[in-house]
Each structure stands twice: as C-alpha cells, then as structure tokens.
C-alpha cells in the first residue's frame, strides 16, 4: 500500500520535473518549451534524454532568441519496486533559459546526441513570439506566472472575458454549427462556479469532449496578451427554420488577486503578497443564427440527412434456404447529422418476414457535425422458395457543399431461395402449410376496356313494340295452327281421355243394372248386361274400339297394360261363364248369378287399380 503511494508520488514528481511525456523504453530526446511567449519574456527550453549514457549532446544554433543561460545539465534516476518487481529509470535534462527579443514565429532547431550508443535527435518545433502587452507595460503575462496589478479590488472587463463564437451564422436546417466558449484571462483565474449555459432552444446539441488537461495558450488579442483556453464546445443541429437565438451564457468567475501587504506577519507568511479573491460575473453576447429551410424538391428516399455521405451495402448471402435469415447491411459513412438520419426504406418482397432494422452508430463529434458511420442491418426471413429481387436502396441527402440534394443508390440483389428442410424446428408456428391470403392493399377494380355501344337514355328493349311482337306473333301463329287442327285436337282430348276416365263409371252403371236384373231373377238379360259392362270397360280403358276386341286378343292387350295373369284368367273365366250361361237351361242359370256378379265387380275393381294412365 505504502509502496503504491510512493509510486504515485514518484510519478507525479517525475512528471513535474520533466514536464514532458516520458517514454520508458524507447531512447529519444524530448524537447519542451511554451508554444507562445511575449516579447521580452524569459522562458525555459529543455531537452530530456531518457538514459544517462549520453555523449556528444549538440543543439543547432538558437539564433532567434537570446540565450541567457545554459545548457545546464541535470540528472534524474529512480528505482522502484512493486510487488518484488524492480524497475529503474534515469534521464538527463539539458536546460536553456532563453529570452524572446522580437516578434514572429521562430524555429527551435533539433538537438542530437549519442544515447546508449545510438544517434538520437529531437524534432524541431516552433515558438510563437507575441508583441508586448501594451496595457501592462513591462512584464506582461508570463506563462504560468500570475499577473499582478497595482489597483486591486476591481477587475476590468478586458481582464477576463469569455467569447462565444459559432463557425457559421447562416446555415441550412440540420446543418451542423460549432459553438465555442473560449476564456481570455489576463488575471489569475481560479475557477468558475454557477455556470449557466443556454438551453439551445431549436437546436439539437451535442457537446464536444475536450481533453481533461486543459492547455492554456498565450494569445495576443486586442493589444493584450491573454492566457486562453477553450472552455466548452458544442455541435448544434438546427431543428427549426428562421432566426434562431443562442442565448447568452453566464459564468461566475473567481479571480485571485495579490494586494500589497500591510500586515508584516501576512507579508512574511505570504512572501510579501496577500491574495484576495474577487468574484466576477461574465456573460457572453447573444448569437443570432439564420436557419434556411432545405430547398424544395426533396427526392424520393430522402430520410433527413444533411451533410456529406456515402453509402455501401452488402447482403449476407444470395443463396439461402427458406426460413433462413438473410441480412442486408447498409453502411452510411460521412459527416453530418448522422444521428438524425432515419433508416432508408428497403422494399423487400412482400412474402418476406421483415424485422425492424438494427442501427449501430459509430461516430465522433467534429466541428462539422458527427463524423463516422451508421450501420443499418435489415434482418429478413424468406418464408417460401423462389427467386426474389431485392431492389436497390435509394438514399438521398442534402449536400451542404454543393447545396443540393444528392441521391445515392446501392446495388440491387438477386436472392435465390431454395426449399427449406421442412423440419418443424426451422419454421415458426408452421402448423399447416396453408396460409391465409394476406391483403396487402385495397384498391378499386380496374376499368373495363371493351368496346361498348351507347344507348339513348331510357332506351331499352323491354316493353317496346318489338318486345311485345315477340309475344304476339308466335301466339297468333299458334292460334292459327290451333284452329286448323282443332278437330284432331278435340279428338285427342275427348276420345282418349274422357273415355278412359268414364270407363269405370259406365261399367259400374251397367253392373248396377245387372244387380237389378239379378234381384228380379232375369237370367238372360243379367248375363247380357254383365258382358256389356266387361267389354265396354276394357274398350274404354284400353282405348280400343269394341269391334276390334275379341277373346283372342284381349289377353295380349291386358298384358300390355301390366294386368297380372291372375286377373286376366279371372276376367276370361267370367266372360266364358256368362256366354255359357246365356245358352244354359233355366236352373243352372240362376245358380251362378250371385257368384258371377260378385266376381265381375271384383275384377273391374282390380283392373281399375292396375291400369293407370
């Protein structure tokens, strides 16, 4: 623990002493001097070699500065042990004290030496010599020294101020502006508190990360030499058009100022000077920025990019199986409002399952905006086999250099999708190979392009004279035919149908007559009547004239009408019985009358049931 602490202390010491970056292993010469000094200032120029085995150290002629002293040589060496590991380092520093005597930018020449047997050299560098500080007469601002002023207590506006500057004041919407807050201090600035920055209304702001160790530089500004540093920097993207105002920022600065000591004790303890702390509120002026709207005529595929971009694309594979994922990668690189660009739309085939694109931003903030790349990955899964086309992606942006829209296109891809393996693990919820028809869009059906004939309004065939003629003419023809052939028609209608229908009635009437004769006991007439009834009935029913009927052909005729053999036999037997009885002697006649009557009625009934038309 203690070991570690000493290590830190040692490092701090080392850094303090060398005031340079210390390369542990590489042998070399590091030169060190302030970047800017004022005329008449003394300053220290040191060359550090990180080994002690140095011979033949030489520096080129330093002719632009007065060498007040040097080179003075000093050696440092250190050994340290951390957890039993011993490391040691050593170095030699050659120091000159120089004085600037004229304005300008001068070169400190390179130093050379033999270090560890090798020839090493430093790189030459430049020191800027600023004119004398007019306001403060002699001395001016020494680097690292505090400036003392005779009239203590108050602070001039020119002693300490902060400027806010923008890289541009007339920009297009979304074009980046760099806003810089820079401190100019001619006094000993201790720090800021209660910093109130504007809220950048109408802008999207992004702070530029500055290095942690702030470098103070000497700068000649309006006749005075100031120590300056960039306090904070912002990249602003205007989100609205018109006159936008960057409000003033407010800083409460505390400044240490030495006063002449009155109290001898104070003077003794504070090396003759007493420091008082003075508070001062600094405000920066407002800045007006004119934001012009982007010119009209935004092309298709414009997604809000302003700056200078290039685009490239790649497809993970152009030959896959169904249900395998395919990735289309778009790389947008360049400078501009990268963060605010929407992912360009890719028109994948409708059959694809499309997931939300994954956007990966890799950029750093520069004075012209965000510089870097935006990678957009579109993941799609083709669900069905086939050859598909992924059309070229159009990416349009507003080029701030040429002040016009530019459209970039990527290449189009052909994607060949083979049939998937069909294993259930590959498909998502594939319960059935059928899928519902997906309605992509609804639109009206297309026009009809066939030739048409125009008809006058209300002009239609129905109910016209022609229409009714279609009824009247055939009807008239039909009636004429009817009249011509009316006799045949009447015959067809009456002879067949009426006889047929009445056959049963006539037969029953005759049988009734026969029944009366039976009761009277009139044998001859009874048989006569029964015979008439039977012959008449068959004649009417079968539509055969009585003259053409005989016992010989009646059997065949009845069979044709599907009368069963049994009934036919019965019928013929009755006919035989009747004919025989008519010529039989008296007694026998009367014996069979009842039986004949009953069976005749029965047969007619049976025949009526079977012969149907």
């Amino acid at each position: 623990m203690i070991m570690k602490k000493t290590f830190y202390i040692w490092i701090l010491l080392n850094v303090w002493m060398l005031t340079g970056i210390y390369a542990a292993n590489q042998v070399g010469i590091t030169a060190n001097a302030p970047d800017a000094v004022a005329v008449g200032d003394q300053f220290r120029l040191s060359f550090t070699i990180n080994t002690q085995n140095v011979r033949d150290f030489r520096v080129g002629e330093i002719k632009d500065f007065d060498v007040l002293m040097g080179p003075s040589r000093s050696q440092q060496s250190s050994t340290q042990m951390i957890n039993g590991k011993v490391t040691s380092s050593s170095s030699i520093t050659f120091t000159y004290i120089l004085m600037a005597n004229k304005e300008g930018t001068f070169t400190i020449p390179a130093a050379t030496a033999q270090a560890d047997g090798k020839e090493v050299a430093s790189t030459p560098f430049q020191v800027k010599v600023l004119p004398k500080d007019e306001a403060n007469g002699i001395g001016g601002v020494g680097s690292g020294d505090t400036q003392t002023s005779r009239n203590s207590g108050t602070l001039n506006a020119t002693d300490l101020f902060i400027t806010s500057t923008t890289s541009k004041t007339t920009v297009y919407e979304q074009e980046a502006i760099l806003l810089t807050y820079k401190i100019y201090a001619a006094v000993d600035l201790r720090g800021f508190d209660n910093v109130k920055l504007p809220d950048f209304k109408g802008f999207q702001s992004q702070e530029v990360e500055l290095p942690d160790d702030r470098r103070w530089e000497l700068e000649h500004y309006r006749g005075r030499n100031y120590r300056t540093t960039i306090y904070r920097q912002f990249v602003l993207f205007p989100q609205q058009t018109g006159q936008l105002e960057i409000e003033s920022a407010r800083f409460d600065a505390s400044v240490a100022r030495a006063t002449e000591a009155i109290d001898p004790f104070d003077a003794f303890f504070n090396r003759g000077n007493t420091y008082v702390e003075i508070k001062k509120t600094l405000t920066t002026p407002k800045i007006l920025v004119t934001v012009n709207p982007l010119p009209s005529g935004k092309p298709d595929g414009y997604t809000g990019g302003v700056g200078d971009f290039s685009i490239s694309s790649s497809l993970s594979s152009n030959h896959v199986k169904a249900n395998d994922a395919v990735t289309l990668k778009l790389d947008i690189t360049g400078v501009g409002n990268l963060k605010l660009i929407k992912a360009p739309e890719v028109k994948f085939p409708d059959d694809f399952e499309i997931y939300d694109p994954k956007v990966d931003n890799q950029f750093r903030i520069t004075s012209t905006g965000l510089s870097g790349s935006q990678t957009i990955e579109y993941l799609v899964i083709p669900r069905n086999a086939g050859n598909y086309k992924i059309p070229a992606v159009k990416f349009s942006y507003f080029d701030t250099k040429s002040q016009s829209y530019k459209t970039l296109t990527t290449e189009a891809y052909e994607l060949q999708v083979d049939k998937g393996d069909g294993t259930s693990s590959q498909t998502v919820a594939n319960y059935n190979n059928k899928e519902d028809l997906r309605i992509l869009n609804e639109d009206i059906r297309f026009i009809k392009q066939n030739d048409v004939t125009l008809r006058p309004r209300g002009g239609y065939f129905f109910n016209s004279l022609g229409y009714w003629l279609f009824y009247l003419i055939p009807l008239a023809i039909f009636i004429i035919i009817f009249i011509i052939y009316r006799r045949q028609i009447a015959e067809n209608a009456n002879v067949t149908k009426m006889k047929n229908k009445k056959a049963n009635k006539v037969a029953l009437k005759r049988m009734k007559e026969a029944g009366k004769l039976l009761a009277d006991g009139n044998g001859d007439q009874f048989y006569d009547e029964v015979l008439k009834a039977l012959w008449g009935y068959t004649s009417d029913k079968l539509n055969i004239p009585s003259s053409m009927l005989s016992k010989d052909n009646i059997e065949g005729q009845l069979k044709e009408h599907q009368v069963s053999q049994e009934v036919i036999n019965e019928f013929i037997e009755i006919l035989d019985t009747c004919e025989f009885a008519r010529f039989a002697p008296g007694e026998e006649k009367h014996q069979n009358m009842d039986k004949v009557y009953a069976s005749a009625l029965d047969t007619i009934g049976k025949m009526e049931n079977t012969i149907k038309h």
Binding site: I444, R445, N463, Y485, N492
Partner: protein, 248 residues
C-alpha cells in the same frame, strides 16, 4: 338507292369507329393516370348515350381523383344499368367505405331482401329476354299437350306449359320492376362535402342533421324546384337543397 345505302353505312361506320376511338383514348388516359382527361372524355361520351361500362370507368376515374361523391354516383348509375355486376358492386363498396357517414339501414324481412336481390341479379332487358324464352317454352309445351295422343306426354305438356307461363309472368314482373327503377330514379347521391338537412324547405328551417358526400338518399317529394324532401336508409326525413345532390 344503292349509293344512299353505302353512304349511310359509311356514316354509321365513321360514327361507331370515332366513338370507339374516344373510349379507347379515355381508357389509355386512365391507364396513364391522367384521370382529369379521362373524366372529360367519359363525360362527353355520356352526353351521347348511356353505357354501364362507361359509368363504371368514370366512377373509377373520379375515385382516383378523390371525388368520392361523383365516384359513388357513377357506380350507382352503372349498377342501375348492370345490376348484379360484381366489379361495380365491389368498387361501390370500397368507395362507400371511405365516406364519412356510417350507414345503418333499417333491417328488411328476409324474403323481401331475397326477392330484391333476385330482381337485382339481372338488368331489365335480360329479364325481358327470359320472359320471351319462357313464353316460347309455354307455346312448345302447349303444342306437345295438343298434338300428342299419349296420356303421359299430354300430362307433361300440360304442366310444363303451366310452369313456363308462370315463369314468363314472373320474369315480366321483374323486368317491369327494373324498368320502373330506371324510369323513375328516386335515389340521389350527396355531392357537397357536407350538407345540413332542414325541417322545412328553406334555409331558416331547423337543422335536423348533417349528411356528408357520397351518402345515398331517396327523394320523397320531388314537387319543389329548389328543395327536395329526402328519406335516409334509416327512415329519417328532411329537406335538402337541390344543388347538394344529384339524382342517380
């Protein structure tokens, strides 16, 4: 005489060919998405006469121009001339779905609705043609009845004649119904984006309700020139200025 006839034919041919050309022109204008031009040509064609196809195409062109009221009007006219045309009814449904008003028609008894649907399956002349066809069937069946001797054939003839006669009468009734619809057009389409329906035929009348473009109304009282009394599908009644609507 011969010369006359040839001139007449030439004229007829010229007229028909010129007409065909302009319809083709309108169709190609529609395909090239020059809907305004297509509308102009279709409208001028309709000055010469009617055609269901042209009304349909004109409705499509108006639909593409986002003039829903006129699109619906022309679809309705096309449907009047070609009832039962699936394309027309499909587009009419899409156009109606885009209108503002929600339509809640009074429910009809099912057999009335069925009969109406049956009548609307065919246009007037097709029903008329069917009627003539059935009449011929009747005559043929009667001939069979009169001129055959077999009882079976006579029976078939008799009943066929009876059924054909009934069908002939029914189809003629249907045709009359369709004819009545074309002759007495009582339905109208609202063309103003929105119009207030009033209780009396004047602007001072109480505002009853507001209907929007594309709404179908039926005219109840056609006696006044400037105002019409209308009925909505759900039975609401009111007066509407005539400039806001156009009769189908």
């Amino acid at each position: 005489m011969k010369q006359h006839i040839s001139i007449l034919f030439a004229l007829l041919f010229a007229v028909t060919s010129a007409f065909a050309q302009t319809k083709a022109q309108a169709d190609s204008a529609y395909i090239n998405k020059e809907y305004a031009q297509a509308i102009e040509i279709y409208e001028s064609l309709l000055q010469q006469g009617e055609s269901g196809e042209i009304y349909y195409n004109l409705g499509n062109a108006y639909f593409k121009q986002d003039e829903l009221g006129r699109a619906i009007l022309n679809y309705e006219r096309a449907l009047l001339l070609q009832p039962g045309n699936a394309d027309v009814s499909a587009n009419l449904d899409i156009a109606r779905a885009k209108t503002v008003d929600k339509i809640n028609p009074n429910p009809e008894v099912f057999f009335v609705a069925w009969t109406r649907a049956l009548i609307n399956m065919l246009p007037v002349d097709t029903w008329g043609a069917w009627g003539i066809g059935f009449f011929f069937c009747t005559l043929a069946a009667l001939a069979i009845y009169f001129f055959t001797k077999g009882v079976r054939w006579r029976k078939i003839g008799f009943f066929a004649a009876l059924i054909s006669l009934i069908l002939c009468i029914v189809t003629n009734l249907f045709a009359f119904e369709q004819k009545g619809k074309i002759d007495h057009r009582t339905d109208a389409i609202v063309l103003s984006p929105s119009v207030t329906v009033r209780s009396t035929p004047s602007d001072e009348g109480t505002s009853l309700f507001v209907i929007h473009e594309g709404r179908k109304v039926s005219i109840k009282d056609n006696s006044m020139k400037e105002w019409k009394e209308i009925t909505l599908e759900d039975g609401k009644v009111g007066w509407i200025p005539v400039c806001a609507i156009e009769i189908i």
